[in-house]
């Protein structure tokens, strides 16, 4: 009997213990996820960077007023709701209450005001993020959970822009006390994961924030490792030392290697990145739109996408992917027609043997092959193409902005907002950094007009019109919209392959 009592007692204790253990699980789950990211942004301050790979980490540390998940729908973030007032020139946000930063500081209207005063003020002027938010005139605190954004002019993309990058809400007291330099390497936000440690060029470690307003994350730890060399990242994934490889890392040529591994899988979804070969529309043979059209028609872009990009991309007709706002499915790429191209070239008076130079980024392995294929196709219609690989920074900061390119040059672009305005304005408006050659008053007017319109349908109509105009003038040879390629170990469950490379890891678990 005594034994029996003891037995029952033990069983009871065991059950109790098991019970506590069981109850502890949701709040403090186990499991560590290791992620390979190709780039170290150097600073974790949201206003210091435009790097996509900042955002892959940042989206797990910080929150914005709005949130855009993998489905690309805009939903409430730190703001519970919002209303547009004064014809779009004022937006009133009702804030979530009871939210605290990782350091215990309360999130409130003052924090929102501080964040945007900082972004639009002196500190923000040092970084690249400010220019995205210049439509905001000022932020006014109405009460502790209500703020008003007063705008200089309506900005149709602002609510999306509030979901990421420079608009991430930062803790005022922490930054004022510790200073900006400290904040750069010791970030504090309201997000699902708390910052633990950061080793420059090596990695950043995070741990679960059990008090996250959106529900505690299921992982206990996340480590991001910065691995720049694609082959190394893939080897680490194969060896099991890394669970996820973020894009843009995995070269298309290595996709079959990962697919062949029973422990790994490839998640590939359309992303924002588009590639085009743009023309020098000011001088040389490509100043003639007939020649530009001929060059486009001479290249079998569909075959390039199918073979070299191995289906990890889709052909485009304008400089945007199908997810982009302003995408027109009715706009079709020019057909592959070498005979027609030759006729057009003859009409334009271009003799066989005419030379064009294609400028590309030297470290872009895919573009290297694509450009060679393009050169071979152009050779077939009698245009001799040479390829000039540049160091990426030289091409981006010197050759393109100063108009020193060859007849054609590579442009890679990826706006995380998925709005054609972000691309088109920078590419085609006169005097923009990325537009060294084309000056077209009509196009300028169109581009300016859509910026002031908050009527969604009307704006979309104008954006489509812009795409058609650009296609008619053949300002570029649109190539493809690349997929974002994630390499993921099968032990990782519920991984959200975000098209904007900002996977939020709240629901992720590991076996």
């Amino acid at each position: 009997m005594a034994l029996g009592v003891k037995g029952i007692k033990t069983a009871f204790m065991a059950a109790l213990l098991a019970g506590t253990a069981f109850m502890a699980t949701p709040a403090d789950a186990a499991g560590k996820l290791t992620i390979s990211s190709p780039q170290d942004p150097g600073s974790w301050d949201p206003i210091d960077t435009f790097l996509v790979n900042w955002a892959s980490v940042g989206t797990n540390i910080f929150d914005g007023l709005t949130y855009r998940g993998p489905d690309r729908k805009l939903v409430p973030g730190l703001a519970e709701s919002w209303t547009e007032m004064d014809g779009g020139k004022r937006i009133r946000f009702k804030l979530r209450s009871g939210v605290t930063f990782h350091n215990g500081e309360p999130f409130n209207a003052a924090a929102v005001k501080f964040t945007f005063d900082r972004l639009l003020g002196e500190e923000g002027a040092k970084g690249p993020q400010r220019s995205n938010y210049v439509a905001i005139d000022s932020v006014e605190v109405i009460d502790d959970t209500t703020v008003d954004f007063k705008l200089k002019a309506p900005d149709p993309v602002l609510l999306t822009k509030l979901a990421g990058y420079g608009a991430m809400i930062v803790p005022p007291k922490y930054i004022q006390e510790k200073g900006d330099a400290f904040f750069n390497v010791n970030p504090v936000g309201t997000g699902p994961f708390k910052f633990v440690s950061y080793a420059p060029k090596t990695g950043i470690k995070l741990e679960a924030n059990p008090n996250y307003w959106g529900g505690a994350p299921k992982l206990s730890e996340v480590e991001y490792r910065f691995i720049t060399e694609p082959a190394t990242a893939v080897a680490e994934l194969q060896a099991g030392r890394v669970d996820v490889v973020l894009p843009p890392t995995i070269p298309i040529g290595m996709v079959p290697v990962i697919q062949a591994d029973p422990k790994l899988t490839v998640l590939s979804i359309p992303g924002p990145t588009v590639d085009a070969l743009r023309f020098n529309t000011k001088s040389g043979i490509t100043a003639d739109p007939r020649v530009r059209k001929a060059l486009i028609m001479a290249v079998d872009r569909a075959a390039i996408v199918k073979s070299i990009l191995a289906g990890q991309a889709s052909e485009i007709a304008s400089f945007q992917g199908e997810l982009s706002f302003g995408y027109d499915p009715a706009l079709k790429p020019l057909p592959f027609d070498p005979k027609g191209a030759q006729a057009l070239l003859a009409q334009a008076g271009v003799k066989p043997g005419a030379a064009v130079q294609i400028d590309i980024r030297g470290n872009d392995a895919t573009m290297n092959e694509v450009a060679q294929a393009v050169a071979a196709y152009l050779g077939a219609v009698g245009v001799v193409a040479t390829i000039k690989p540049y160091e990426t920074n030289v091409l981006l900061n010197d050759i393109i902005p100063q108009g020193k390119t060859g007849a054609m040059f590579q442009q890679k672009w990826g706006g995380w907002t998925f709005d054609y305005d972000n691309t088109a304005y920078a590419m085609y408006h006169s005097g923009e950094k990325w537009n060294p050659y084309e000056q077209d008053a009509d196009l300028d007017k169109l581009l300016e007009s859509q910026r002031a319109i908050t009527d969604v349908a009307e704006r979309e109509r104008i954006l489509k019109q812009i795409a058609h105009t650009v296609a008619d003038k053949a300002l570029e040879m649109p190539l493809y919209n690349s997929n974002a390629i994630y390499g993921v170990a099968k032990r990782v469950k519920n991984f959200p392959p975000a098209s904007d490379n900002r996977p939020k890891l709240t629901e992720v678990t590991v076996d």
Binding site: P230, A231, P251, I252, G253, M254, P256, V257, D300, A303, I304, K306, S307, I308, G362, N363, A365, N368, E369, A371, Q372, A373, A375, A376, G379, A385, T386, I387, K388, P389, Y390, E391, V394
Partner: protein, 284 residues
């Protein structure tokens, strides 16, 4: 061990070295020179649908095809043109400038010597890769620029070698007597100095050709070199890198070509060095 060493010093090995080196170099040079005849238009013929076909399967592509469906064999052979051109031209350029500088500074001494040799010291203190990256970043990558870069970075070796020899030779009796009977300076340099110091220069030349082929390959590999449409060994290596696990043949065959060429030239250079060695330590 001792037996192996003595074989390495034996005349039979010397002959083997020469035979192997000369054959390799000759075969490769001929194949490359006549690549257009061997593969008419083959190196650039693209067939996107037949990309990455494996080697040793069809007669059309004995070494398989690359990511653009071009014949690897044809490209390896045609790619040698760039590599050998860069190798030989850069070495010739560096040797001409270097020998000239070495002769002038060694023969005339004085301020001339000072300037050239201090310049050479500065040059030797600069790491090659640093120089290469800076140079290519400023002037841009092209075939001519790559050759100029190699010349600029290598003339010093010849200059120092030649100057050393000239310093020793100019005090010798035959030079002194030539000068005493009033032979002009340029004649002394061309007729009396040059033939007496050209041996080591030729050896350095052969060894450097191999070295420069490797450098050109690594520069192209780093994306600092030349137009990727022009086949070159380094460029092929670089473009095949991402396919290494799925299509090894894209980078292995150009790698093999580099290996064989460099091996051939090195064997030839070694043989030449031993044959020309005036101390006769390893003479037959």
């Amino acid at each position: 061990m001792a037996a192996a060493l003595s074989f390495l010093r034996s005349p039979r090995f010397r002959n083997l070295e020469f035979l192997l080196g000369a054959t390799l170099t000759l075969v490769i040079c001929l194949a490359v020179l006549f690549s257009d005849q061997l593969f008419p238009g083959g190196a650039d013929k693209m067939d996107l649908m037949a990309r990455l076909s494996p080697p040793f399967r069809t007669a059309a592509h004995p070494l398989g095809t690359d990511p653009l469906g071009r014949d690897v064999l044809a490209r390896v052979v045609a790619g040698g043109k760039i590599s050998l051109l860069v190798g030989f031209v850069s070495v010739a350029g560096a040797a001409v400038i270097g020998v000239l500088m070495g002769l002038i500074s060694g023969y005339y001494r004085g301020i001339c010597d000072m300037v050239v040799m201090r310049f050479a010291d500065v040059q030797l203190a600069l790491p090659f890769i640093l120089l290469a990256i800076t140079f290519i970043a400023i002037v841009g990558g092209s075939l001519t620029n790559t050759i100029i870069l190699l010349i600029v970075s290598q003339w010093v070796q010849y200059a120092r070698l030649v100057r050393g020899s000239v310093l020793a030779l100019r005090e010798r009796e035959f030079i002194q007597s030539a000068r005493a009977i009033g032979v002009k300076d340029w004649r002394i340099i061309v007729q009396h100095l040059l033939p007496n110091l050209i041996g080591p220069v030729i050896v350095l030349l052969t060894l450097n050709v191999a070295n420069n082929i490797l450098l050109e390959s690594s520069l192209t590999f780093l994306g600092l070199g030349i137009d990727p449409t022009i086949p070159s060994w380094g460029g092929m290596l670089a473009s095949g890198r991402t396919y290494l696990q799925v299509a090894w043949w894209v980078s292995v065959f150009p790698g093999l070509a580099i290996l064989l060429t460099v091996l051939g030239l090195n064997l030839l250079g070694d043989w030449l060095r031993d044959s020309l060695d005036p101390t006769g330590r390893t003479s037959r």
